[in-house]
């Protein structure tokens, strides 16, 4: 806010008895209230379902069968979580798959994106136009699902391997645009020129100068990528049959209609009795809660990096 508006604020609002100064160009308290109610309702609709699922996961299975899903259940119970602790081998296995895919995938993504984006951000790279086009054309045109599927299964033979969950998603043109824009806007040419005069090689400049000052950009891409791998279920739907390689999100799809899947991989012998008394609905919701909790807890802290990436990505050059 500049001096003009500050001084106006003072002259208009320094009336005696009024302690809070108010920007005279602000909306009236009535409109503020109306807007608050509207946005607040929408914001609540965004977090309510998650709270609802948490409550359901702590509901007693019999109460649930009797009363249906309720935000204020009559009887609470920890049975769903107890069940998962006891025979959740499949869940743990899937969690392991998801973690492995997310970590390996994100590291590879960062390597590919930062090297590629750095090279095409440098004006003294003679083939930069060609390689920029190579990346950006993929945003306009793609071969489609089926040829991609055939390449993964019949050229690379990745069916039923962890790599089928990783390789198809480790790069895309959007990441490269964000990263390139980040390099061109935050790394001053002068630094690079002076390093060159001091005799640094291109690799030296990239690893010792550019990467360290681009950490916020790297963090942004890293978070996009982490989220993408954690939430991915489509690749597994296409390429994975082996229950040991199913990630968490895909496990949630498998148990959607059939709870047997979670016990078939269990080391315990599950009798028909146990299968019949399985707290199915609440266990499902408990698994949804466990798969969502890490994101729900972490994203408010990482939000600003996402916002940064989004706003950079939409800057036109």
């Amino acid at each position: 806010m500049n001096d003009l508006s500050k001084s106006m604020e003072r002259t208009v609002l320094s009336a005696p008895g009024k302690k809070k100064t108010r920007d005279i160009n602000a909306i009236s308290p009535l409109w503020n209230f109306i807007f608050n109610v509207g946005v607040c309702l929408f914001a609540l609709s965004c977090i309510f379902p998650f709270i609802f699922i948490i409550v359901i996961s702590f509901t007693d299975e019999k109460t649930l069968a009797l009363n249906g899903f309720s935000i204020l259940p009559e009887v609470l119970s920890l049975d769903a979580y107890r069940f998962l602790m006891r025979s959740g081998e499949q869940m743990v296995q899937s969690l392991g798959v998801t973690l492995a895919v997310t970590v390996i995938g994100t590291v590879l993504t960062l390597y590919l994106v930062s090297t590629y984006a750095y090279a095409i951000s440098r004006k003294n790279f003679d083939q930069r136009r060609f390689f920029s086009f190579l990346a950006f054309f993929t945003m306009l045109f793609s071969g489609g699902l089926v040829p991609g599927y055939i390449v993964v299964t019949q050229v690379l033979h990745l069916r039923d391997t962890l790599w089928a969950l990783i390789f198809p998603s480790i790069l895309n043109a959007f990441y490269i645009i964000v990263m390139r824009t980040f390099f061109t806007t935050t790394v001053p040419d002068a630094i690079i020129e002076s390093a060159k005069i001091d005799g640094a090689t291109e690799f030296g400049i990239y690893t010792r100068i550019v990467l360290p000052i681009s950490l916020p950009g790297i963090a942004t891409i890293g978070l996009f990528s982490t989220l993408g791998f954690w939430n991915d279920w489509f690749n597994a739907l296409l390429y994975i049959d082996n229950p040991n390689l199913i990630p968490l999100q895909t496990l949630l799809i498998r148990i959607q209609n059939n709870m047997d899947f979670i016990v078939q991989n269990s080391s315990q012998v599950v009798s028909y009795d146990i299968a019949a008394t399985l707290p199915t609905e609440t266990v499902r919701m408990a698994m949804v809660v466990l798969a969502t909790l890490p994101i729900a807890l972490a994203y408010p802290f990482f939000q600003k990096y996402f916002i940064q990436g989004l706003t950079i990505g939409s800057v036109k050059e």
Binding site: N32, C46, I53, F141, S142, G143, V155, L227, T250, L252
Partner: protein, 309 residues
């Protein structure tokens, strides 16, 4: 020739840097593009590998396309894809800009920050998780909607087989999931507008509404156009999870949930019809490319600076 070689050697450090990424693009983006020629072939797997399979499969011309367009499916999936996307793009734009303007005006900035964080939540969740959220409302015996209907003395509805509700559900969910994401970009753009415009307008006696109409919206126009042109380019693509996972792949709902992407997926995995699925995917890509080029051309004609490329 020697000149080219010299140039390559001069740029060897950069070339080494782009090599892994370029290799990825060639394998995972350009090889499938070459593979689309099987849309014009009767694809058979040959023992000699991918290239031999693609090249040795028999040419059938446009037979795969004829087969696709001879059924009602082609019309239904094209109609669904376009109508849903037009709805989502237009309403999404209005919602994102409205939210951004309102959030920018809220007096309590800390509260505004909280709203923003809450609205961002659905964006971070997968459609699988959201399909469970939806299930807790729509389940026939236990869901919230039917509990409310019964409470008010109405008959419960079998939501997962009643087509008439789903266009509203899907549009709502598509908007709901992306509202936080959409508004952020516009919020940042509003924050970047020079405050002195508003001060000058205020001194001239402009109301808040007039300031929004004559300053904020015109200043946001380039961004709105660019993002909409980009979105129009994707008008033939859909968010697969929204149309496949949220309706729980319910066959009764196919007339209103089947879009090009789900059709191609089912064609590949259930029917195993490689040729027709590839043809559908190619139809999607080619029309999508034409649309984005046309949209960009139109924008360039009207206002050169607003064109994306």
């Amino acid at each position: 020739m020697q000149g080219i070689l010299k140039k390559l050697i001069k740029n060897r450090a950069f070339l080494l840097l782009v090599l892994p990424g370029a290799a990825w693009f060639i394998i995972f983006a350009y090889l499938p593009m070459f593979g689309t020629i099987i849309a014009f072939k009767d694809f058979r797997i040959h023992p000699g590998g991918f290239f031999e399979s693609v090249l040795k499969s028999e040419w059938v011309g446009f037979k795969n396309f004829e087969f696709l367009f001879s059924t009602d499916d082609a019309y239904i999936i094209t109609r669904n894809t376009i109508l849903y996307n037009v709805g989502l793009i237009m309403l999404g734009l209005v919602l994102a800009v409205t939210l951004a303007i309102i959030m920018n005006e809220l007096l309590n900035k800390r509260l505004a920050k909280f709203y923003q964080t809450a609205m961002f939540m659905p964006y971070f969740l997968s459609w699988v998780i959201i399909s469970y959220f939806v299930f807790s409302f729509l389940n026939v015996e236990k869901g919230v909607f039917n509990q409310l209907l019964v409470f008010f003395g109405e008959d419960p509805v079998s939501w997962y087989s009643e087509t008439k509700f789903w266009p509203y559900f899907l549009i709502f969910l598509g908007l709901w999931k992306n509202a936080g994401y959409g508004s952020v970009v516009y919020l940042a753009a509003i924050a970047g507008i020079d405050r002195s415009y508003y001060e000058a307008a205020m001194i001239d006696g402009a109301t808040k509404w007039n300031q929004i109409r004559f300053i904020t919206l015109p200043m946001l126009k380039p961004l709105m156009i660019i993002l909409t042109v980009l979105a129009l380019g994707g008008i033939f693509r859909s968010d697969f999870g929204l149309f496949y996972q949220v309706p729980r792949d319910s066959g009764a709902l196919y007339p209103v949930t089947n879009v090009i992407d789900t059709f191609v997926y089912r064609g590949l995995t259930i029917m195993g019809d490689t040729g027709m699925s590839t043809a559908t995917g190619l139809y999607q890509s080619v029309v999508g490319l034409i649309l984005v080029l046309l949209a960009n051309y139109a924008v360039r004609k009207i206002e050169k600076d607003y064109a994306v490329f």
